[in-house]
Amino acid sequence: MQTPIAVKMENSLVVAATKKKVCNHLPNDIVLFILSKLPLISLKRFLCVSKSWSLLFKNTYFMNMLRNNILLNDDSYYDETFMVRYTPKYSERCNFYWLSDEGFANSVHLDWPSQFQEDYIHIFIVGSVSINGILCLKHGFTRTSQVVLWNPTTSETKVIPPSPIENRRPDRNPWHFLHGFGYDHVSDDYKVIQMIEYFPGYQGDMIWEDRSYDPSWEIYSLKTNSWKKLDIDMQNCYYYSPLQGNGLYADGVFHWWAISKLKNIEECMVSFDFSEEVMCTTLMPLNTDGGFDVGYVERHLVSLNESIALISKYKKESTFCISVLAKLGERESWINLFTVGPLLSMEYSNIVGMKNNTLFYRRDGELVCVDLKTQMIKELGVKGDRFHFHVGKYKKSFLPIRGIIN
């Protein structure tokens, strides 16, 4: 039997309990909590719900939750990190390592495949990720001399034969080769796409008008072991820096960041779909550079929780911004997610890769990383010379590199 005191307490507690908002509609902060779990495209669509909802991406409370959710979903699919270290001395080769979480001291060096055992100094890993354990290696940046598929788990290699001369533009000198490597899930085929840019490079506006200098594109299929010309209309107004030229492969599509040689042409992302064999461009996000000095901005593409993200690093302000893309091809679908900095160590640095919410960059010739969740900076212990690096993601696979069986 309840005592009078207990009844009093019960009543007051009941009153306190009912003061909690209970109606058929959810309180605002809870609505935001739910929304922060939605995919980016849905969020962009729901900006049309009402005026206050249209300001969703300016809501600090909401953005904190959204960022947390994006970072929380680690991509643990790739279990290893590779690192290529380039020396500034042109007499020394670059080296491949499995990068340990503890740092460089525990990293394991691996020899390049036999095709690259000679004095090769500039070996690049196309796409920054493995596809079924395969890495696509290319030697050289301008005038690439070799492209080789390599599975470092099984040591298997496949040399990609050079493309036929007929695919080239007659009367023009090839000077720059851009590559992409990917998997076409529709035809179950590995493909290598190659772009040839013709000399001269960026010497004034007049060359741009002359379409005969436009790059030519061709694609190699592992299944048929043959090249074929691609009909892609791309004007000769972009260039790709060596690291940007490595590009990013994700979900059957290859992406490069293209910077224009001409002032009136905006930077964009160029993306090639290996199944459809079509190219599309996505202009850079609006308002991303904000008040930052774009004099020495560096752009880098990474994948962040199944989306493509653009990292823009502003040298002057030692700050970087990350924008994530909701829909390929749609400029409006970029969402400015983070601004990190100013970071004391970032001024003279280059972004070299990203894995599991950790951004790797080069600072004074050393490899450093920052965890985006905690913003903790860690030095990885590569001491000495002013190296340059490329860091990427790898997943072991024992599958053979399949090709046509003759």
């Binding site: 309840q2 207990a6 939605l38 495209i41 849905s42 669509r45 729901f46 049309c48 009402s50 005026k51």
Partner: protein, 160 residues
């Protein structure tokens, strides 16, 4: 009515009374997962039937079922999928509101993700109705916004 004081809480059951007057039993360890219930127990004692004025007999048994599984560590993705399979969007919302009222964190998290998954491909009108949000755009403003974001509307059925 004399109640036996039990020395351990693990086998003790708590009586909960819903807003529509029905009584349900829950194990004390499960009650601990619902912070509101635990607070009421702490203040009223565990011998008394705890009144839950804002939870009703339709939702409470479901919530109890969830936490029964939780204390035995049996909550799996399959269980969670089954748990919400036969609920429509409004029923999930009511359940979610109850979890919020009860401060039942794990269920709250799970249901919030489930609601987000359900709303992912829904139309703007549906979301307005669901959250009770009024459209304060003029027709011109709205059609301009939709045009700007046409790519986000592809494949979405407008009358859902």
């Amino acid at each position: 009515m004399a109640q036996e004081a039990s020395s351990s809480t693990s086998s003790k059951t708590i009586s909960l009374k819903t807003g529509d007057g029905e009584i349900f039993e829950i194990e004390a360890s499960a009650a601990k997962q619902m912070k509101t219930v635990q607070r009421l127990i702490d203040d009223l004692g565990d011998d008394i039937t705890i009144p839950l004025h804002n939870v009703f007999s339709k939702e409470l048994p479901k919530i109890i079922e969830y936490y029964k599984k939780d204390i035995t560590g049996e909550i799996t993705k399959d269980f969670e999928a089954e748990f919400v399979k036969d609920l429509n969007d409004d029923e999930v919302k009511v359940l979610f509101l109850a979890a919020n009222y009860l401060d039942a964190n794990k269920l709250f998290e799970f249901l919030s993700q489930n609601i987000a998954d359900r709303l992912e491909s829904k139309s703007v009108e549906y979301v307005r109705k669901y959250f009770g949000v009024e459209n304060d755009f003029t027709p011109e403003e709205e059609s301009k916004l939709r045009e700007e974001r046409a790519w986000s509307f592809r494949g979405i059925k407008e009358d859902e």
